[in-house]
């Protein structure tokens, strides 16, 4: 299937990346090139094949549900573009 300008705009919105209107046609064209390449996968017979979930046949380890970390608020906030009074600060979220 072919991606048009509107689909490109919708994908950009979903990805939370601002794309200017005049950049959309070129972006749609790039998507089409890549998706055209990916379409080859339709040639493969995948009937009855399990999708891979883990490349190594290994059970994930369990651990005790205990606190092993914490009490480092200042370290966590140190790299924030805007931190105030022990919190991350962001623009207004609710009206």
């Amino acid at each position: 299937m072919s991606i048009d300008k509107d689909t490109a705009a919708r994908v950009a919105k979903l990805a939370r990346i601002k794309v200017e209107d005049d950049a959309l046609p070129a972006l749609a064209e790039e998507f089409n090139t890549i998706l055209g390449f990916i379409e080859q996968l339709n040639e493969v017979d995948v009937e009855g094949v399990e999708p891979m979930t883990s490349v190594t046949p290994m059970r994930l380890k369990r651990r005790v549900d205990g606190v092993t970390d914490g009490d480092q608020q200042d370290k966590i906030l140190k790299n924030a573009p805007d931190a105030r009074e022990g919190f991350f600060a962001v623009p207004k979220v609710v009206e």
Binding site: I3, A15, S54, D82
Partner: protein
């Protein structure tokens, strides 16, 4: 001083232990070499104070005896590794100013072993690229040139800075990471050795995530022995990475006997690509002969789903990237866009990500978003994961039939010129990884070693692919091939 920086890890280790050289001397020599190599743009954040401090500590430890192999060895660290208090920005503007409050497990292990950090190395942004041209720091440059032509060539990518630095003797070795070929392709382009271990061998904790089911760290070194020494120091179980394997790490160096008599080496027919340069075909045939002469049994094999590896990768890797890179939202670290009056949180996300991510990263995040979106998840993402199962099964079948390792070319060409692929469509650039990406999809260990030069004098590499968890055996086969190939060429210094 050039002599010191061109040392290999094994040589330096022995010289350090004998007291013939100090880590401080090695480190100063490297720092001087780095200072004079600005034209390569390999090191992007220098850490001389840390290096001198670590070198002094290493010298004390060596003097006291009982120092590990990596003690006192000056290294470059790819910018993808989080290093405490040192910029770690994955060559992206979105992580501008980010200084982690923690150290990645792999670098922790290296520093605990006494290794010295000279600085952080250039790479493609978020490890997405095959030429180091997507970096926010600008291109890293290959120390190799085509004969007397002074056109700047790519060192490959994404670990382009690591490859350039090791090849140019700015450091003794470097860390790299490999999601689709990002250690092996740049190693091949610069005439050095690079190994991607089995998925799960090295902890991914503290390494900026690109595609979590494919990413693995590994060493980039001047020869196979060094790869064995450094890999051992990087590997091991880490409770902080749930996919890290709880398996003992063997002494890889002790397994380098060079004896491969009776080993079975597979040559996959699907790796003969249309339009592949004659020289690569010839090198591959030579490699086959070298292994045969060393006593290996060579068999022709088939990996029937090879053709579908790249398209599967370009669904799975962007899908995982779109999810991993969702964390760059301008709230917790890195860049936040300047907002206009009335902008809310959505505008903040959208402007921050548009400003912070480069073009290739944006494109991959959006492709990933698309293949995961409602209505397309099954058609693209699930189908790609099924194809991945088949690709892995191809390898399992040949290993079950008795194949110990697989020999392929490392790349479909020698290093190309920076800017030469600018007008090509993105898929053309992706083809660089055609021989390496299958290995990530199947979670296997793979190593690239330099095996010859083309008629322009540029290095060419061969790749060996091993059974899961058998890096020791793989390194030994690579060691035998290295000895037979006898590659000793070095780039002439122009920088």
């Amino acid at each position: 001083m050039t002599d010191l920086t061109s040392m290999k890890i094994a040589e330096a280790r022995d010289a350090l232990r004998k007291g013939n050289v100090t880590s401080a001397e090695l480190t100063e020599a490297c720092l001087t070499a780095i200072e004079g190599a600005g034209a390569l743009n390999a090191f992007v954040h220098n850490t001389p104070e840390i290096a001198r401090e670590q070198a002094a500590a290493a010298d004390a430890r060596i003097k006291a005896g009982d120092a590990p192999a990596m003690c006192g060895i000056p290294l470059g660290i790819k910018d993808l590794f989080c290093t405490k208090g040192v910029p770690s920005q994955a060559a992206s503007n979105i992580l501008g100013g980010f200084k982690p409050e923690y150290e990645s497990t792999v670098t922790t292990q290296l520093f605990d072993a006494g290794a010295v950090m000279l600085g952080k190395l250039n790479m493609d942004e978020f490890a997405m690229g095959s030429s180091n041209e997507t970096s926010c720091y600008g291109n890293a440059v290959n120390p190799w040139r085509r004969g007397n032509d002074d056109a700047a060539l790519t060192p490959g990518g994404s670990s382009g800075g690591s490859a350039s630095a090791v090849s140019a003797d700015l450091c003794l070795a470097a860390t790299g990471t490999d999601t689709g070929g990002s250690i092996r392709q740049p190693a091949a382009f610069t005439g050095i050795t690079g190994i991607k271990p089995t998925y799960g061998r090295c902890s991914r904790w503290g390494i900026v995530a690109f595609a979590s089911s494919l990413d693995q760290a590994g060493p980039m070194t001047k020869d196979v022995r060094d790869a064995a020494i450094m890999l051992e120091a990087m590997c091991g179980h880490d409770p902080k990475d749930s996919t890290s394997a709880d398996l003992a790490v063997p002494n890889f160096e002790a397994m380098l006997t060079g004896d491969i008599k009776g080993k079975t080496i597979g040559i996959p027919k699907e790796y003969h690509m249309d339009g592949m340069p004659e020289e690569i075909e010839a090198l591959w045939a030579e490699g086959r002969k070298m292994l045969q002469d060393a006593g290996a049994n060579i068999v022709d094999i088939s990996l029937p789903h090879t053709k579908y590896a790249l398209p599967a990768y370009y669904v799975i890797a962007p899908a995982e990237a779109s999810s991993n890179l969702a964390r760059y939202d301008g709230v917790r670290y890195g860049h936040r866009a300047t907002l206009s009056a009335g902008d809310g949180i959505t505008e903040m996300y959208e402007k921050t990500r548009a400003e912070g991510f480069g073009h290739e990263v944006q494109r991959r995040v959006m492709v990933g978003t698309y293949v995961l979106s409602a209505g397309f998840y099954d058609a693209y993402y699930n189908r790609a994961r099924k194809v991945r199962t088949l690709i892995k099964k191809d390898f399992e079948d040949v290993f079950a039939a008795g194949v110990d390792a697989i020999l392929t070319p490392a790349t479909p060409s020698a290093a190309f010129g920076l800017g030469e692929m600018e007008d090509a469509d993105p898929v053309k650039m992706y083809l660089n990884d055609v021989f390496t990406v299958t290995v990530n999809l199947a979670g296997l260990p793979g190593i690239a070693i330099p095996a010859g030069v083309d008629k322009q004098g540029l290095p060419l590499g061969l790749q060996l692919i091993g059974r899961p968890w058998e890096e020791g055996d793989l390194l030994n086969t690579a060691y035998a091939l290295e000895q037979a190939a006898g590659f000793v060429a070095k780039p002439g210094k122009w920088w």
